[in-house]
């Protein structure tokens, strides 16, 4: 117990806690007294510094006042006061106009040659924060003087300040290379570090110079651990950028593994792990070093080691195997970040023989960990199921245990998704998974999950050897559960009736009992299905029960909402054909209110399974807001174009840090293309007028409309449009684009725009129309193979080509990405180690009235193992379109 403990009771107020900014600003008058009272002034400065670090904000004027007043304190000879004054000036200079802060320049320059080191070191630090390009050349010689100062404090301060100055005036700083080189031989460790870093940064655009510098430094004997870490990074950079085979760089890194300082040996270990061409010997030593850290008493070392090994396990799991045992001990580490990393690493490096044991070990401590952590475990387990399909039984049982235990909806949803993904990948697991899930819905507390499981049972159950046992579970729900679940159960049963002829009669009897259900939805569904069964209307039944919705659920929801709001409901029926089929994948800038969308019931399963199967986890931008379709239909010029058929992803036409940031989206209508350019003006002192993109096509075409942006203010993005008429054709055109606009300068002090203006233009990236633009992804064709047979064989188009890709999996992703079509029959899932594969895709064409287009790609790794041979076939009702897709896509 220390003697201050008693005072720290909650009742007691802490010093400064109720400090008021206005009051402190008043107190700054002590700076102005004729006889400077150092003690009082120091106290007031401390108050100001505290206010800043507490988070109080000062206006430009307030900050300038404080700064001005503080410059008076240069008259005092009190050293501690001067030290605080430097800090005050440094902090306040960042919140006021740079021009005003220059008034301290002469005092600071004077201090830079003062006899007291502390003055020299700190005055240069402040000066470099406020100085501009022009003044810098005038004080250059003083800075150079400080860089070679014998005193480490001064030299370090000058070097670090110069590193910051590289942002202001790189050309000036580059002229000091000789002085920096000289300071590298300073006795101080820190000066070495700062000199090395500055020298490296001065030369960073000259690869040869960097290589020479690093080679020289490797041979010198650096003492500073920070400098050694920096040099390791530099060596890695040289190896990666030049691809050098010179072992000197590798040898240096390896030698650092044995450094006594943990910071350095760790840096070396993680460098070796990250390098592609590390030798086995180096990798073994690096892993050995990290292995020692794993059992360190310091949490940070354990953390650093396990994080690095985790990364290594992704690319080279075998190298990490020696750490297996140490890693297992970390599963129960007090620090949850460490434990999580240990588990995910272990699951990555696990092999067929120890997976079972590992799962058992994890089960043992499952009760002690929170839901967030459990989700991480569930996700790793899912990945494992793909690696070791034979272990599905243990995995399903393990996942099911998590599902049954107490837990949040989020955890259970992730777990259910994981089970669905296992079922999707490993058909053998279906039966055991369904049985477990049947048990689970007997007492499932979340109706969302019950509904999804009932959907799955209806989808998969009828195809199992003994479908009738599932009916019992489903029917139990009807007698015991809430309306939503009963309705889902009715639908699920109906599927059994449709898909399994023998069960049809039994199902009809069961559904009949639901006709008097108290819930409307249950009664309606039961009545509808029963009637269709009686009529033997299998076509409509399968459309209702098996096919996905004709458009994404979210779009239907929005359209329905609009329909109800518009008041058209009384006069006209809702037409689902008008719903956009565009899957929104990117958040749209808009002020529309965010409406939380509930999980669409039927869609959830196919959504979850398809996204996990595709293997890409790009979150679909569900940030609600007006969709492209609504936005465009509100523009009179485009309203007549009809329904929006497809929107491309966002294409960046500039770097994101340029003066004007432009991106483009291509919108396809029947007969028209609309290019939407989103333009952002990042220059505070400019107002842009009449902003539009001048598109220059490489063929002669006629543009329909240009819609410019009238006024584009700073940081307020807006859209301009170009429309193009294509009728029924599918032109492939390249466009050179120029952003054109009028500039009005804005006076920064008044914020008013200048009366005169001038024309300006700005080159932006090209845009191309590609076959993918003419294909709508849509929902995957439910029965691809049948539909493929039905389409005419004689007009199909076949292309053979070779892709420079090594793995089938990558090739599948590349083909799907290039065509923008929807993979069918789960053919986007490539079995591990496959050397050939067939990918099926479906889509619809923008022209030709949404004609169905199917594509098949047969792939095989060629003899060299470096390329993949592809036979690509396209089928539709239109011979020309087949040829177009097959020949122009790749």
């Amino acid at each position: 117990m220390n003697r201050f403990e008693k005072k720290d009771d909650d009742e007691n107020e802490f010093p400064f806690e109720s400090l008021d900014k206005g009051q402190v600003i008043q107190e700054k008058r002590v700076f102005n007294e004729n006889q400077i009272n150092a003690r009082k002034c120091s106290f007031v400065i401390s108050e100001f510094l505290y206010l800043l670090s507490r988070g109080d904000t000062f206006t430009n004027t307030e900050a300038t006042d404080v700064y001005f007043a503080a410059t008076k304190l240069f008259q005092s000879k009190d050293i501690p006061l001067r030290r605080l004054t430097y800090l005050l000036l440094k902090e306040f200079s960042t919140i006021m106009s740079q021009e005003m802060s220059l008034i301290a320049t002469s005092s600071l320059v004077k201090d830079m040659s003062h006899k007291i080191e502390l003055y020299r070191a700190n005055s240069i630090r402040v000066l470099c924060k406020i100085i501009d390009n022009q003044l810098l050349s005038q004080v250059e010689r003083h800075i150079k003087q400080c860089i070679v100062d014998k005193d480490p404090h001064v030299s370090s301060a000058a070097l670090v300040s110069s590193i910051h100055l590289l942002k202001v005036s790189p050309d000036t700083v580059k002229r000091w290379a000789n002085e920096v080189q000289e300071s590298i031989s300073n006795k101080s460790n820190m000066v070495q570090y700062h000199a090395l870093a500055l020298l490296h940064r001065i030369k960073q655009h000259d690869r040869l110079a960097v290589t020479k510098l690093v080679s020289a430094m490797i041979r010198s004997s650096l003492r500073s651990p920070y400098a050694q870490c920096y040099l390791i990074k530099c060596a890695v950079e040289v190896i990666e950028e030049t691809g050098t085979q010179d072992r000197a760089f590798y040898d240096y890194i390896e030698s650092c593994l044995r450094n006594r300082n943990e910071m350095v040996s760790y840096e070396a270990a993680r460098a070796i792990c990250s390098l592609k061409n590390s030798s086995l010997k180096e990798l073994t030593s690096a892993v050995g070093t990290l292995q020692l850290f794993l059992s360190s008493s310091k949490p940070t070392l354990r953390f650093a080691a396990v994080r690095t090994l985790n990364k290594l396990a992704q690319v080279n799991p075998i190298a990490v195997v020696p750490c297996n045992l140490d890693m297992e001990n970390l599963i129960t580490d007090n620090n949850r970040s460490i434990a999580t990393l240990a588990i995910t690493t272990l699951l990555k490096i696990g092999n067929e023989s120890n997976v079972e044991r590992l799962i058992k070990q994890i089960s043992n401590f499952l009760d002690d960990i929170n839901d967030e952590f459990k989700i991480v475990v569930v996700e790793s387990i899912t990945a494992l199921s793909i690696k070791f399909p034979k272990k599905y039984k243990q995995l399903i049982i393990f996942l099911n245990k998590i599902l049954r235990d107490e837990g949040s909806l989020q955890l259970k949803q992730s777990t259910l998704d994981a089970i669905l993904s296992v079922v999707n990948h490993i058909p053998e697991s279906k039966e055991i998974a369904l049985n477990e899930l049947c048990d689970f819905i007997e007492d499932c507390e979340y109706s969302e999950l019950s509904v999804q499981i009932l959907h799955l049972l209806g989808q998969e159950g009828p195809h199992t050897p003994s479908p009738s046992k599932y009916i019992r579970y489903i029917y139990n729900r009807i007698s015991l559960d809430s309306g939503t679940i009963r309705a889902a159960a009715v639908t699920s049963m109906a599927k059994f009736g449709l898909l399994n002829e023998q069960m049809k009669h039994k199902v009809e009897l069961l559904i009949q009992r639901c006709l008097f259900d108290e819930d409307d939805e249950v009664r309606d569904r039961a009545t509808l299905y029963l009637r269709l069964f009686k009529e033997n209307n299998e076509k409509l039944l399968s459309q209702l029960l098996l096919e996905d919705l004709p458009a994404p659920a979210i779009n239907i929801q929005r359209s329905l909402e609009q329909y109800l709001e518009s008041g058209r409901a009384a006069t006209e029926a809702f037409n689902i054909d008008n719903v956009s089929t565009v899957v929104e994948t990117s958040p749209i800038l808009s002020s529309g209110k965010a409406s939380a969308t509930s999980t669409p019931k039927a869609g959830a399963i196919s959504l979850a399974s398809s996204s996990s199967a595709a293997g890409d986890s790009t979150p679909k931008g569900k940030e609600a807001g007006e969709t492209y379709a609504i936005k465009l239909s509100n523009i009179p010029q485009f309203a007549a174009y009809g329904k929006l058929l497809k929107s491309s992803e966002i294409i960046e036409l500039t770097e994101t840090e340029t003066e004007y940031v432009v991106s483009c989206v291509k919108h396809m209508f029947a007969g028209y293309i609309v290019f939407q350019f989103t333009v952002k003006n990042t220059l505070e002192d400019q107002l842009l007028e009449n902003v539009f993109v001048k598109m220059e096509p490489n063929v002669r075409i006629k543009f329909e409309t240009y819609l410019p942006i009238d006024k584009l203010a700073f940081n307020d993005p807006a859209d301009c449009y170009v429309a193009l008429r294509i009728q029924d054709s599918t032109p492939l055109i390249n466009f050179n684009n120029i952003l054109r606009f009028r500039v009005r300068e804005i006076d920064p002090s008044t914020g008013e725009a200048d009366s005169s203006s001038y024309d300006e233009q700005y080159n932006i990236e090209e845009i191309a129309l590609v076959p993918r633009d003419y294909i709508i992804r849509g929902q995957p064709a439910p029965k691809f193979l049948e539909e493929w047979k039905e389409l005419p064989e004689d007009i199909q188009s076949i292309q053979r080509f070779s892709l420079n890709i090594k793995s089938i999996d990558e090739a599948v992703k590349e083909i799907v990405r290039t065509l923008g079509m929807a993979p069918c029959e789960k053919s986007e899932v490539v079995p591990p180690k496959a050397n050939k594969h067939i990918l099926y895709m479906s889509g619809r064409s923008v022209a030709n009235n949404n004609m169905l287009v199917l594509a098949r790609a047969r792939m095989m790794i060629d003899q060299s193992g470096q390329n993949i041979d592809v036979e690509f076939a396209v089928k539709s009702e239109d011979e020309d379109f087949n040829a177009f897709v097959a020949t122009e896509s790749f």
């Binding site: 220390n2 003697r3 201050f4 403990e5 005072k7 720290d8 802490f14 010093p15 806690e17 150092a38 003690r39 120091s42 401390s46 510094l49 505290y50 670090s53 507490r54 988070g55 109080d56 000879k77 009190d78 050293i79 501690p80 006061l81 030290r83 605080l84 800090l87 502390l118 404090h153 370090s156 301060a157 670090v160 590193i163 910051h164 006795k187 460790n189 820190m190 570090y193 651990p225 920070y226 870490c229 920096y230 990074k233 950079e237 943990e262 910071m263 760790y266 840096e267 993680r270 310091k298 949490p299 940070t300 070392l301 953390f303 650093a304 994080r307 007090n334 620090n335 949850r336 970040s337």
Partner: protein, 175 residues
């Protein structure tokens, strides 16, 4: 690589209820207002308060921290940085405070000597770059011994520290 020299992104001290005592953001591209900063600090506190750890991850940041009687001191870097190096900076800072505050790191002492609290930080980090790593040198620079008779409430160096710094100087001299 280019930004590797800028090691520390944020520094803050929170009390045992998670409220900010002092903070310094060297890079405010992620959290450009006090409100955003404090919201982040709250999340960091929630993640680290109950756990007696030393290191954690949140979003894309690595966080090292050390808890004292009623305050926790945090250093935050982006997750590509060397965790051990980041911990070294924290160690330098806490070692310095130990010396200056006579081993009594708590909210009251940090605030009463807020000039030392902030000066020590300023001596260790310059815009996120490590300026000095030796806590003895830093303690000397912060607790400036003054000549003359001004009655400033400065730190009285204990005999031990005087010895330590004398030894340091001797060692440096012998190098």
């Amino acid at each position: 690589m280019a930004s590797y020299i800028y090691l520390v992104k944020f520094f803050f001290i929170l009390d045992n209820k998670g409220s900010r005592v002092v903070a310094k953001y060297y890079d405010d591209s992620e959290f450009d207002t006090t409100v955003k900063q404090k919201a982040f600090e709250k999340r960091v506190f929630d993640k680290t308060a109950k756990v007696n750890g030393e290191i954690s991850i949140l979003d894309s940041f690595t966080i090292v921290y050390r808890t004292y009687s009623n305050v926790t001191i945090y250093m935050v870097a982006d997750n590509e940085q060397n965790e051990v190096a980041l911990l070294n900076v924290l160690n330098t800072y806490t070692d310095t405070l130990h010396t200056i505050l006579d081993s009594n790191i708590n909210k009251r002492n940090l605030l009463e000597g807020v000039n030392f609290t902030l000066l020590a930080l300023d001596e260790i980090l310059d815009d996120g770059i490590v300026l000095e790593s030796d806590s003895t040198i830093i303690s000397d620079r912060v607790g400036i011994k003054i000549d003359g008779g001004d009655d400033l409430d400065s730190l009285d160096q204990s005999l031990g520290q005087v010895m330590a710094s004398a030894r340091e100087q001797l060692v440096n001299f012998l190098k």
